[in-house]
């Protein structure tokens, strides 16, 4: 396992902004080093423009580096959607052959895998239909299915989870796991951090073309969370700047894993404390503090409406205590609004830097929320009391 399949040494990529020689330059990647061992899976994460796609383009041989040296041992291919190589007039079958050839497959190899490719894409009934009549989903799935049936030594996976519906994504993930079992070396780019944690042995955090962190995926992902929480301002839906500057001012919002401890990581099903600092010009009563959570796409998930307090000058802290965080791993926006409880008039609101990154806990669960639960197995017939206490769905006993 100690063989290194992919090695990047001091790799840099410079782009010219503009076509003239005197145009400004920009380093999409700078002095980048990476070693990927045979059979391992490395995930690359980072914000947009971090240089992740540049690494992929360099490795795939689409463009040459400006500096450094890349060594790849084994046949490399990229798991990408290749629908751009499709010809609309050709049928699905013909396009499979064309795109497969573009990816470097032999005709006989494509022929041998045609049935699997077509069923993977779920377009069996339309294989002899020109792709110009395909739905956009079918088009993308077929484009992706071809790449998924390559047999490389080294595989690049770029945003696989952005393709197709949930079922197709699950199929893609299953395919990646299959390739992992076969010992394929994998480089994986995704904005889906939990996928990186699940699939990869190691992760690399990139930002502005340089490596920020490298190591076990959960550690690197949590570093990424902390970095992106700092200095980020997100507008909470429903904000209205017209309410600025009142007698009450919210000055800071912080998250705590347990009361009074320094901010660390926040995990599903664990306690969360939210503290909001305020400054007040006078004694205010009654004030309603509303704490709201939003999903990454801006939907309100929860808002507390009942916490009515008395506020005293000059400053203080409002503390929200959540005994058990009901969110699955991911990013959430948190906003706080302070209102006059009698008139519902907004005195101030807080939206700055308040992104909550929830990380996975040891408890196995899936879905959109976490429900506190316990599981028991009851044996019917042995304990009559238990049976009588439960609601009967069985007609026989009714």
């Amino acid at each position: 396992m100690s063989d290194i399949d992919v090695r990047l040494e001091g790799v840099g990529k410079m782009y010219r902004l503009g076509t003239r020689r005197s145009a400004d330059t920009f380093w999409a990647l700078k002095d980048f080093n990476l070693e990927v061992h045979r059979g391992s899976s490395v995930g690359m994460i980072g914000p947009n423009g971090a240089g992740k796609s540049t690494v992929m383009k360099l490795l795939a041989g689409i463009t040459a580096p400006t500096a450094g040296r890349i060594t790849i041992v084994g046949a490399l291919s990229a798991l990408i959607e290749v629908g751009s190589g499709f010809h609309p007039e050709l049928t699905g079958r013909e396009n499979v052959f064309l795109s497969g050839a573009i990816l470097g497959m032999r005709r006989r190899d494509i022929a041998a895998r045609l049935d699997r490719i077509v069923s993977f894409a779920g377009v069996e009934r339309f294989v002899d239909t020109p792709v110009k009549w395909y739905s956009s989903g079918m088009y993308v799935r077929l484009g992706f299915a071809i790449a998924a049936h390559l047999q490389p030594d080294v595989l690049l996976v770029d945003e696989v989870l952005a393709v197709g519906d949930a079922e197709f994504q699950a199929r893609c993930l299953a395919r990646i796991r299959e390739l992992q079992r076969d010992g394929v070396t994998i480089l994986f780019i995704s904005h889906d951090l939990s996928a990186v944690e699940q699939l990869c042995d190691r992760a690399v955090l990139l930002d502005r073309g340089t490596t920020i962190a490298e190591g076990p995926p959960d550690e690197v992902v949590s570093i990424y969370h902390r970095r992106s929480t700092a200095g980020q301002r997100i507008a909470v839906p429903g904000d209205d700047p017209a309410y600025a500057r009142q007698a009450l001012k919210l000055t800071n919002l912080t998250f705590h894993a347990r009361t009074a401890s320094i901010p660390t990581t926040f995990r599903t099903a664990e306690p969360l404390v939210v503290q909001v600092r305020y400054e007040a010009d006078e004694r205010l009563d009654p004030i309603r503090f509303e704490l709201a959570f939003y999903s990454a796409d801006g939907r309100q998930l929860h808002a507390t409406l009942e916490s009515v307090e008395t506020v005293a000058p000059p400053e203080g802290i409002v503390q929200f205590e959540i005994p058990l965080l009901p969110f699955q791993p991911g990013a959430y926006y948190v906003g706080v609004v302070a209102r006059d409880a009698r008139t519902s008039h907004v005195l101030d609101w807080w939206d700055g830097g308040s992104m909550l990154h929830v990380e996975t806990s040891g408890k196995a669960s899936a879905g959109q929320i976490f429900i506190p639960h316990s599981t028991r197995v009851l044996t019917i017939g042995s304990g009559a009391a238990i049976k009588r206490d439960s609601i009967e769905f069985d007609r026989e006993t009714g």
Binding site: A64, V73, I80, L103, G104
Partner: protein, 285 residues
Amino acid sequence: MDHVRNRPVTVLEPPSWAAVRPLAALARLRQFSDLLLTLSAHRISVRYKQSRLGAAWAVLQPLAIMVTFTAVFSLLGGVPSEGIPYGLFAYAALVPWTAFASGLSSATGALTGHASLLGKVSFPREILPLTYVVAAVSDGAIACIALAALMAWYGVGLSIDALWAVIALVLLILWLVGTGLVLSAIQVRHRDVGLAMPVLLQIWMFATPVVYPLALARGKLSPGLYFLYTVNPMTGIVDTFRRGLVLHTGPDPLALGVAAGVVCALLPAAYLYFKYAELTMADVV
């Protein structure tokens, strides 16, 4: 996965002439030979889709030029045509010329026409212009059927000299590959090439003995200018093709020799240049 098999080692370095490894590039091109075949077949099959006359266009294009020049020259008092009817004389040269002209202009746009593919997938880029060369040559083959019909009509047969036409054809393909590689690669950075193409090809046709015989140029040009005239490989190629096929004579040694020399010198240089330009093609296309 087969771990026992020898794994290929790929080294990627900053663009430099040393980073161009022509032998490795040729080996990779061979690996992708199925792509060349599939894409060329596709090129040919979609070429005349949604056109009423279809593959007849391969014949009509040179035929139309032939008819035009026959008409123009008969009004102007004629041009010597080495003892065969002018129409046959001109058409026999227009077949290779049209294959060259249409092949070069379509090959020039081959890379810019597939920009999204260049940014997404890595494959030997030379395949794209090469497929247009294959398509143009297959068009030329169709045009040859009309040439055969014309020869039969005028009662002109074939002789052993037709083998010279085969040599001319090989040179034509190599020359088309060389120029197509260079111009398509330049076109990625400077679209001027594509814009200049129509007028360039028009001038080029008159600088080549297509609608007039080589002897005419030899008689009118000074020795120095005439040598320059033959440095254009199309001169030797078109002339040799016509002589071998319909005039039943061997080639003009100087014209064919210079053409062969230029073609053989250009092709490797063109391939090296193309592979060098390929290294950063995706950044600028």
